[in-house]
Symmetry: C2
Subunit: 429 residues, 2 copies
Amino acid sequence: MKILIYPGKSDWPSICKRPASDNSDIDPVVRNIIEKVKTGGDTALGFFSEKYDGSAVKEFRVSEAEISKAEKLVPENLKAAIKTAMTNIEKFHGSQISEGQIVETYPGIRCWQRNIPIETVGLYIPGGTAPLFSTVLMLALPASMAGCSRIVMCSPPGKNGDLNPLILFAASVSGVTEIYRVGGAQAIAAMAYGTASVPKVDKIFGPGNRFVTRAKVMIQLDGIPIDMPAGPSEVLVMADKTGNASFIASDLLSQAEHGTDSQVLFLTDTSEIISEVKSEVEKQLENLPRKDIAVKSLGNSMLILLNSIEECMEFSNYYAPEHLILSTSDPMSLSAFVKNAGSVFLGRYSCESAGDYASGTNHTLPTNGFARSYSGVTVASFFKSISFQEVSENGLKGLGPVIEQMAAAEQLQGHKNAVTLRLNSLKNV
Amino acid sequence: MKILIYPGKSDWPSICKRPASDNSDIDPVVRNIIEKVKTGGDTALGFFSEKYDGSAVKEFRVSEAEISKAEKLVPENLKAAIKTAMTNIEKFHGSQISEGQIVETYPGIRCWQRNIPIETVGLYIPGGTAPLFSTVLMLALPASMAGCSRIVMCSPPGKNGDLNPLILFAASVSGVTEIYRVGGAQAIAAMAYGTASVPKVDKIFGPGNRFVTRAKVMIQLDGIPIDMPAGPSEVLVMADKTGNASFIASDLLSQAEHGTDSQVLFLTDTSEIISEVKSEVEKQLENLPRKDIAVKSLGNSMLILLNSIEECMEFSNYYAPEHLILSTSDPMSLSAFVKNAGSVFLGRYSCESAGDYASGTNHTLPTNGFARSYSGVTVASFFKSISFQEVSENGLKGLGPVIEQMAAAEQLQGHKNAVTLRLNSLKNV
């Protein structure tokens, strides 16, 4: 990890620049996969599955029998843990649902808004070494709570053609209505355009490798919405002299083990703590099973000494981290100054993994500085808001002339006529 | 207008297909403009402004003096009308702002969410024949209410290099912080990447021609968010035997005059009303200043007879109209069945132009079927939601083992360690 001592503000842009995200090498590959699946459907899907996942899939849809079988393979104590996490996620996400009230904006004119679920949503769950069943919960639970009627999930199969039982179990308890064993950019294309096997969905969610995330960004060219663009995962830990070096090191490492391109930053106003954190990281790293990955991502990472906690917060807002841990003496007061972050953890016992699994907040969050303009996934990500209005006779009598004037000034006579005709009919009564 | 009598459901997909939106002809042009502005900054911006707007712009930023001058050119009665509309828009949009409460998801674990304004937003306002100052209100007011600190606006100048005084006035009263005289795809690129004159923004909003809307969709490839993709404007009017043919015709025409590619649909369960509406449209069309435009868009339009109002609603949800007018005997009950629409107007006095200007709802709405997954602009479009959590000692003692189990099952030992270390330290106390 690089140590930076009092870097000047002119250096912040280069410090905050994320590890390169040039996609020119994979863009043609992803574009080709999308085109082929769009036109070739299941045949193309089978071709790319065999090519990239090494599995000749006969039936994309996972059967009920397979799901039931998976359920039996999950140990009871893990089921109980998942149940607890689900309860917390549902409690927090439930607090996000509020129906708009009817507002009388003008005498006789009432306006309101209703949240209506997006009918069919698609969730992508990565495969690979670690079975990320927690991501299934983080996407499918809010989708279920929003009331989406079809919740489609795609995830790449292993060489034997099966999905991990934990992924299948999480999907079945959190409301996924159909599961397909297909991964990569081809899965995103299948959900975007539909094939004979995989339904076309109205919005696509979930993390993935570079090919998957690039495919998600590209399908937006055809107007298909996604949760957010994505980059490598990251954490920024901020601490003053009250910070616990051992806890901080464990948080940095829990992020560093995610992938070789992850980035972890530590900011402090206290020079002593820098070397303590550094040696704790080195010590804890030794026993980490994913040490090789963590070593590489620590190469992208920095310990930064700044002049004050205020300056640390300013830097953090500039960087816009996915996860922000405030390990300071008064994190609650400090948290009022957070402007750009995905999810924020207050105090020394609020480790990132609490939010990753079970505190109740969502772990699908904006990376790569996208926290400046994107939110993490909420129940609202699965809604659209429709506005309604009711104009009474009296409302039109009062407001009609305002509308007529504005329409005339915009030279839209037809817009004006729609009011004038109605006002005239009311005069004649 | 084409008349369709009892079309079968198998025909709905072809009926609901929007007028072609093939962009292959303009994609290379737009891509070139974006690339040139990204690398060439103001020089490229000047080049494209002269090429497309026919105006050699010396200073992109509109001065305070020009804005004050414009203010004097707006008639007092129009200013008063705009003020009324603003009050209604603020009332309705104000009802959309609600802060999340703190939720104790588990004993000792508290989670909450805060809405934080996106710092810098960019608004695009089209130029052309009609000065769409109402769109300035519809974008800048919610941005101001959200608390965005920089509200940047771009709009193409006339041949003389000036912006319309109404547009400048609306911008100055609704909180726009800086105005630039630049239009087209080049304006979108300037706001997306920044030039010496035009600041880089965090999110881009607003309508425009095909080049503008295509540029907006394309900059998403670089992770810059937009309000929504766009297509031609549209209205669907639904009426039973209580519908007033003259009112309905005026609503159809107010949409038809927007542009030659607009589409208007009329659905009913009552055959008599079809011919009444048709002849009213023809009659009212005669005196419309924008008749030439309306005639063309009526060519894309249809009067459709279906078996029941229930079937009309089913069709409407399938079509997903930008504007939906319910001119039936009990529109309130019927409105409960709306699943896909941008904005809904209830009853015979609720004309679309009320919502276009002054009822208080937003008129920046999803077209082209995008209402299936996108919302119109709300205050939330200018926010991001950040989640916060605070785990106490007791909270971690209780929930820690759940997190440990889940992390271990995902084979992420570092995630587990962050909890284990803390739990061990608590045992030692």
